[in-house]
Symmetry: D2
Subunit: 100 residues, 4 copies
């Protein structure tokens, strides 16, 4: 709307295909979280079975993050020098990536 923005790049929106893919995956992840919740309703649930399910959800989230990251690199990071926002885009990306 106005000129000034909080972060460097909020005109840079998630690519529509990546956004569709991410939403599909997140709906599946929500269903998986519901499944773990139902599992934990039972008083006979075994610790390691719950841990395995949580690990599976983490893997699915990591893949969702990877696809958004790939889209961000492809659509925004590789063109940052041309736009002139390269310092900001690298700083904020490292903030998300570092040590993960």
């Amino acid at each position: 709307m106005a000129e000034s923005t909080q972060n460097c790049c909020d005109r840079l929106v998630v690519d529509p295909d990546a956004r569709d893919d991410a939403r599909m995956r997140l709906r599946s992840i929500r269903g998986h979280v519901d499944g773990v919740l139902r599992m934990l309703e039972r008083d006979d649930v075994y610790c390691v079975d719950a841990l395995k399910q949580i690990k599976a959800v983490q893997g699915a989230l990591a893949k969702t993050g990877d696809l958004i990251l790939r889209a961000h690199l492809k659509h925004h990071v590789v063109t940052a020098h041309q736009r002139g926002d390269e310092d900001a885009i690298v700083a904020e990306l490292m903030d998300v990536l570092k040590y993960r």
Copy 2:
């Protein structure tokens, strides 16, 4: 002794306090996943904002896993030698922990 089971230890159920805590956290995580989904409905969502939210959900899941792991260690693993299922309990635990 009785009906043999697939894993060593399915009589070893998640401690009730840990189970309550994990369910509370998972309900919050489900809400967080819903929030990321709503964020991704918008066509002006910025990649790095989505990545940050996914990273936050991963952190919350990791903490939930940690509390179940702690309960498993405290209630089941430290007593495994007495029950005699130590080989099985170590093998299946390493399967979940390794390389994570």
Copy 3:
């Protein structure tokens, strides 16, 4: 020798077989680190090639950690209830494992 100890369990030494295996792996890791250092002497080294090597060293370290963890679980954690140091052993183990 004396009664008071810094941590609960410093009488609990690394199993000799695991110790031999870990040393063998760490010598190989040291060689790998030397290789990355030599790679970085060259002024024509490519970023991604260095990143791949660092990732490989991290994988080798993770496997070394896993074998010591497995030995710790097998030789010390599963017997903690009998020794009576279970609270301390779980607390310090979670400190190393959490969020990793």
Copy 4:
């Protein structure tokens, strides 16, 4: 155009400052690995002490990887569109980053 090469970008060398910083850190990491090796020479080393040291080395390696990654983003990725090697540079970067 010229001699084709295996990866897209092997003319893209590590920035000299980042290379110096990485070498300094890797020399320190090598010393740390030596320290863990000496620790494991002793037959009274405690598992968790070894695990803590390995975790510390992993943290130092992760920081070294982060600084090379930051240099790669800053010096090579943000200019990829102008060079025209963006598809290759994104593909190989995701290969290193994914799921880490």
